[in-house]
Amino acid sequence: MQMHIEVSGLVKQYPLKAGLFARSRERVHAVNGVSFSIPKGQTLGIVGESGCGKTTTARLLLRVVEPDSGVFRFEQVENVFALPEEELKKVRSRMQYIFQDPYNSLNPKMLVRDIVTEPIRYRGNVTRRELERKAAELLEHVGLSPADSKKYPHEFSGGQRQRISIARALSSRPSFIICDEPVSSLDVSIQSQILNLLIDLQQELGITYLFIAHNLAVVFYMSDTLAVMYTGKIVEMGLAEELYRNPLHPYTRLLIKTLDPEARKDPLVKNDSGEVPSLIHYPAGCTFFPRCPRRQPKCLEAFPALETKGLNHQVACYFPGQEKGNE
């Protein structure tokens, strides 16, 4: 299958601030060798608890934050991370970002028309009339009225603002959009409007999504492929349905258990300590060790590599599979 996006060996460590003159050698290991690929027009979902490196991964791809190492092949570009600034600008218009908070991500002093066409103006050489036509077209595309283009963001509700963010993301005709918690700040009745809109746009325009959310049911619903992240590493990856029906990593199994309303009675969930190792003193072995129900001495030796188990299903665990006597 032709991959639209291929990321390999993505690493980002943040140095800890020491004193004024002291040089700290300590580092926070935010993303530790993440690799994945997404076919054109499909969605890769990333799940994991807060602090696992989901958002850092997304920011690295856009080079909002510069990675320490890694390769990012995108369309005809061999490595986006190696591009000089000028070249990067061209590529960036093909990639867009939808933020979690539609209140802080829209400039309150700008007209909606100027917000949604900003990515076009940035590239220059468009007439004012053309911009107006484009703004109306974009707003209609996301289910707003062209008359809305002369309003300010504060005149809209949360769901409508998120539509404006989506219109802005679409304006430069991207082929890849990163959705970072796009519905978590919205009311329940509005969420499905936005999710359906994202699905429709994908089908119509063939856009590839990287979809990040902490609500598991939402990520499972939206994704074709799913990556489960833990302490900056992908511990399991596969087709969403396959992962749901046949989770192999103990952490994935724990996450899926939590979807069940009766989960609190399950010993796997009940006995979970939730203890995450320090990302500063990154342990040599498997980082899930303290919480793992099937840990063995071997797990402390080295972090298990991501190995293929069946079609499109990879897991990083020495003892993958189901517990005995469960299910």
Partner: protein, 327 residues
């Protein structure tokens, strides 16, 4: 059926803005029974939190409770109680857990000291040392590891989940009869969330207290509540047992909400989410008739003009004209 401990009758809470008097909660009547969990569901702006603040009389200065409202706690009308009487109930008989544990503690004092303060405010006779022992025991009850050490820690030294446990310890410190929980797990990760819910249920059984549990998440409420009351635009629209609400929801709003959220194990290929049109009306411009009619797929003429009363039996009340005949 357990005897009632809190009866809210005809509660209307209004907010005075520069030009308007806006009702946030309108003519709300509900009953909380002893050792029961009452789930209160609804989206932002529907009056969930205002109901709690009205009962505890913690409304901001521009908020007032209308004179005809009654809030009976063990036969005492809280709306008539002088401030001094309220002070002796708050934190003792009636306590609250907020969504954001970071904002609920004073960052400048150790958590243990803040629990001691609450205990000694309500029971001045208790010596500091004994109060500290009680706080340590509470930490043990809420399953914070190494309670005798953690009791001396400052709020910033706790993770989100652990601090939420500490906040619950604080709320439980004077053995409340009613615990008000305002979205206590919304800010937490899925696996942490379940630990907190389990803890609340266990403490409820151990102390026979009642819990008034507010959340926007219907499936979460379904898993822990005895009864659920659904609010929309300041009014109660449906109230019944948690099981009944998930198996036989009557009000179109409840039905739509349940259809709009991805269920576990559903994928976008299989089923499109139901999209509720429009948005929650803003309190100053609530539509005439049934407040849900502009968004309701089953609305007919009567809904647009006349406001429905509560129909059905005590065990399952619904505010919708569709059920007027059955009455």
């Amino acid at each position: 059926m357990n005897p009632s401990i809190l009866q809210i009758e005809n509660l209307t809470t209004e907010f005075q803005t520069v030009t308007h008097r806006t009702p946030a909660v309108e003519r709300l009547s509900l009953t909380l029974r002893e050792n029961e969990i009452l789930g209160v569901a609804g989206e932002s702006g529907c009056g969930k939190s205002v109901t709690i603040l009205s009962v505890l009389r913690l409304l901001p200065p521009n908020g007032t409770i209308r004179r005809e409202s009654k809030i009976l706690y063990q036969g005492i009308d809280l709306t008539q109680l002088p401030e001094k009487g309220m002070n002796s109930l708050r934190g003792k008989d009636l306590s609250i857990v907020f969504q954001e544990p970071m904002g609920s503690f004073n960052p400048l004092f150790p958590v243990g000291k803040q629990i001691v303060e609450v205990i000694r405010t309500h029971e001045p006779a208790v010596p500091v040392k004994q109060a500290l022992e009680r706080a340590t025991e509470l930490f043990r009850q809420v399953r914070i590891p190494h309670p005798e050490l953690r009791i001396q820690d400052y709020p910033f030294q706790f993770s989100g989940g652990m601090l939420q446990r500490a906040l619950i310890a604080l709320a439980l410190s004077c053995s409340p009869r009613i615990l008000f929980a305002d979205e206590p797990t919304t800010a937490l990760d899925a696996s942490t969330q379940i630990g907190i819910l389990d803890l609340l249920l266990e403490r409820k059984e151990a102390t026979r207290m009642s819990i008034f549990f507010v959340s926007h998440d219907l499936s979460l409420l379904g898993a822990i509540s005895d009864r659920i009351c659904v609010l929309y635009a300041g009014r109660m629209v449906e109230a019944c047992s948690a099981k009944e609400l998930h198996t036989h929801p009557l009000h179109p709003y409840t039905q739509d909400l349940l259809a709009a959220v991805p269920r576990k194990g559903t994928f976008k290929k299989e089923k499109r989410l139901y999209s509720i049109q429009g948005k929650v009306p803003d309190p100053q411009h609530r539509p005439p008739g049934c407040t849900y009619h502009p968004r309701c797929s089953k609305a007919f003429d009567r809904c647009r003009n006349e406001e429905p009363g509560l129909f059905g039996e005590e065990s399952h009340l619904v505010r919708c004209w569709l059920y007027a005949d059955a009455h």
